[in-house]
């Protein structure tokens, strides 16, 4: 019988961008823009990102290192306030195993002519796949990609 366990964790990441909130928000709202920065390290093989950006809409992308495992990300949008806030839940599978479910809140606040972004993730890690530190590290990497993507536009 599989050992069942749950471990809860919360982490927050704060970033500032020189782009205004409307531009940072657009990097989340549009599938092509989001695919430029979201979906794992550069050496991963990735699927196309699918995004239905509305409350109740879904998002999915998968990818992983060539040797595996494949990471499957599936999200559902719970609350959206244009240019201000996005709340979603997402689950992550490693191959066929669901390893975590998370509640992610992104807040966009004006800071001068730029944006202060605050991301809070409240996660439950399942059955011993406790990787709160890794998850935070991976998420920070995504925000590095987002910063580069905003600078290139």
């Amino acid at each position: 019988m599989t050992e069942r366990s749950t471990k809860h964790a919360t982490f927050t990441i704060e970033r500032t961008f020189s782009a205004p909130p409307s531009r940072v928000f657009a990097a989340y709202a549009d599938a092509k823009s989001k695919a430029r920065w979201f979906g794992g390290p550069e050496d991963w093989e990735k699927s196309n990102l699918k995004l239905d950006f509305k409350v109740g809409g879904r998002e999915s992308v998968s990818g992983g290192p060539p040797e595996g495992p494949i990471h499957y990300y599936n999200a559902i949008y719970q609350d959206i306030v244009p240019d201000e806030r996005i709340v979603l839940t997402y689950e992550l599978h490693l191959d066929k195993t669901r390893i975590s479910v998370s509640l992610g809140t992104t807040e966009f606040k004006p800071l001068g002519s730029g944006t202060r972004l605050l991301y809070t993730e409240q996660a439950v890690f399942l059955d011993g796949y406790d990787d709160a530190g890794l998850r935070e590290q991976g998420t920070r990497g995504l925000f590095d990609n987002l910063a580069r993507s905003l600078e290139m536009q």
């Binding site: 069942r4 749950t6 809860h8 919360t10 109740g56 559902i76 719970q78 609350d79 306030v81 201000e84 806030r85 709340v87 839940t89 689950e91 669901r98 479910v101 998370s102 509640l103 809140t105 807040e107 809070t120 409240q122 996660a123 439950v124 399942l126």
Partner: protein, 151 residues
């Protein structure tokens, strides 16, 4: 214009019930059993749909009997029979956001009974609710489960 804000909180509640885990699990899984407890205190459920399976979505309108203004939109994310239920729900009041929650219910055998651990991770939106109030509501529902499985 609504002033936007988010307050994050984590609520943990533990209960010990005299019924076996399968019986406590059924309090969620079976519509008739769930209807006995799925609203805090003396509030009422005005409308409710059931779809208890991974990926299933349920809607529930509830609140005080003279003004059932809240709607919970629930999605079941992970279900292990008799052991674990993970679900999300967003709550609105007349269409205005109140909160989004990620809730974990873990059941384990405790002698002939059950130990239940509920952890709710919540984003409270725009000052419409708070952790103390939510905890009181959840505690009320867990107490009702205790009464329903003891009967």
């Amino acid at each position: 214009m609504t002033a936007r804000s988010v307050q994050h909180g984590t609520i943990r509640l533990e209960r010990r019930y005299k019924a076996a885990p399968a019986r406590v699990f059924a309090a969620w899984a079976e519509p008739k059993a769930r209807a006995q407890w799925d609203v805090p205190g003396r509030w009422v459920i005005a409308e409710q749909s059931f779809d208890f399976r991974e990926g299933g979505r349920e809607l529930k309108r509830f609140g005080p009997s003279d003004d059932p203004r809240f709607v919970a939109d629930t999605l079941y994310l992970d279900i292990v029979p008799d052991r674990r239920i993970v679900f999300s729900y967003s709550m609105t009041s007349r269409g205005e956001p109140v909160s989004v929650s990620l809730t974990t219910v873990a059941l384990s055998a405790d002698g002939e009974g059950t130990r239940l651990l509920l952890v709710e991770q919540v984003a409270f939106l725009d000052g419409k609710d708070n952790a103390a109030n939510r905890e009181e509501g959840l505690a009320s529902m867990l107490d009702k489960i205790g009464e329903s499985v003891a009967a």
